[in-house]
Amino acid sequence: MEKPFKRRDLLGIRDLSAEEIKGILDTAENFREINAREIKKVPTLRGKTVINLFFENSTRTRTSFELAAKRLSADAVNISISSSSVAKGETLIDTALNLDAMSPDCIVVRHGSAGVPHQLAKVSKAAIINAGDGTNEHPTQALLDAMTIREHKKKIADLEVAIVGDILHSRVARSNIQLLTKLGARVRVAGPKTLVPDDFQYLVEKDLIVCKNIEEAIEGTDVVMILRIQKERQDSAYFPTLREYSIHYGLTHERLNLAKEDAIVLHPGPMNRGIEIASDVADSSRSLILDQVKYGVAVRMAVLYLATGGTASSE
């Protein structure tokens, strides 16, 4: 069966042109209205099957993809690691081939290793959507972040965006850096030296600055994006203690005041209150964390629609 998505899969922001990104965002914009209706369902993907194949824990992303599929009337099946035959020793490719034999139209995959969606795309007839692969990419997160920024700043080009925290392990940062620079924003990154490699600039050709500290990164920015400190990586000693991290890199009102007066705060969640972000900042009107979650459903509806045959909207 031929796949109608011009770019049959969504594996990463890296592969997309600025026009394609704008096309997805414009399409998502038009899907937002459905989520505000009383009956939040349209028959568009009736009869299509979407498999959410999650090898890593996730509440937000999996729920968001599931709701997106269901609001488009697709049948959504969730498979998580604990209930899959991977636990019984099946290889990734065999799992994919077995799922493929049941003719899904789309497989949404999250895995702890980079490149898994790309491997699946080679063997599967279904459209593959990357819902996070290791430290590589998380394209739909970057798209919903962009949608949130666009909604509040009315543009992305020429904005100054600071990304603070564990850049090294962050697929969210990698996808966001690529997307934002492709759409003409300038990105600064900051965090403990162990988590923000000096050579991070290799990722994009331009418009990325590695800053020495959080203050330098935040000063005069339009958007402050705070990353989650991955407590599960704490035994690797990237920084001495969580408390010390919080003192040097936590986002407080005092630090946020260095940004532009109308700067907005984003966090991909789940957040550690009092560590990377102070509770009062997270709950302030400048924080758009819940908007991000809201737009996430619209973005994933757009991505599913496009992956299973739709054409992107344009302004």
């Binding site: 109608p4 399409t27 038009n30 009956i39 349209v42 028959p43 568009t44 045959g309 054409t311 909207s313």
Partner: protein, 189 residues
């Protein structure tokens, strides 16, 4: 669009003045039937139904001194040919700001042909609530013999019996370089 497919123009059946007169008559018929503008809700079907609904809105306001309600419907997500059409149409917003519950809806479109667009619009309307009545107003009705569903128009600007090989184009200044309705034919058929 005519140029894209190298369509051959067979006849221009309505010019700007005739379109205006037809719309004026439609507006009169609609308010006469509805006995005024009360609870009247014009819903334009994207794309060409939208400017037509706007024009009917203005004419009804002139006639009655009262504004009817107004909305826009995009049927893309309700099409029945999503899996068969190669490149799917682009999704646009549906804008029904006012609740449709218990309203007298007039769906407005440029051309009534197979009836499938209207089926999609009706399905979508029902997902928004329970209108008291739904009626259909079109500028051009291509004739019952083309219908693939039991759907007919209540208000018709002009009945134009056509062959299946012919194409009716309603050109509006909002989208095209002129205002006219023409019959076209695809070459070599």
């Amino acid at each position: 669009m005519a140029d894209e497919y190298n369509l051959i123009e067979k006849a221009i059946i309505m010019d700007s003045a005739r379109m205006k007169r037809a719309l004026s008559r439609l507006a009169s018929e609609i308010v006469e039937e509805n006995q005024g503008a009360k609870d009247l809700y014009l819903v334009g079907i994207r794309r060409r139904g939208v400017p037509l609904a706007e024009r009917l809105f203005n004419k009804i306001e002139q006639l009655e001194g009262e504004k009817p309600l107004y909305g826009i419907i995009d049927i893309t997500l309700y099409r029945d040919d999503l899996s068969t059409v190669g490149a799917n149409p682009i999704v646009n917003k549906t804008e029904l700001a006012t609740d449709i519950e218990d309203k007298n809806i007039i769906l407005v479109d440029d051309v009534l042909y197979t009836g499938r667009t209207i089926r999609a619009a009706l399905d979508q309307l029902m997902d928004f609530g329970r209108p008291r009545k739904v009626k259909l107003a079109v500028l051009i009705d291509r004739g019952r013999e083309h219908r693939e569903l039991p759907i007919q128009a209540d208000f018709v600007g002009r009945l134009v019996p056509t062959k299946q090989t012919e194409i009716i184009k309603v050109m509006l200044k909002e989208f095209d370089d002129r205002e006219a309705v023409g019959i076209y034919e695809i070459p070599n058929q």
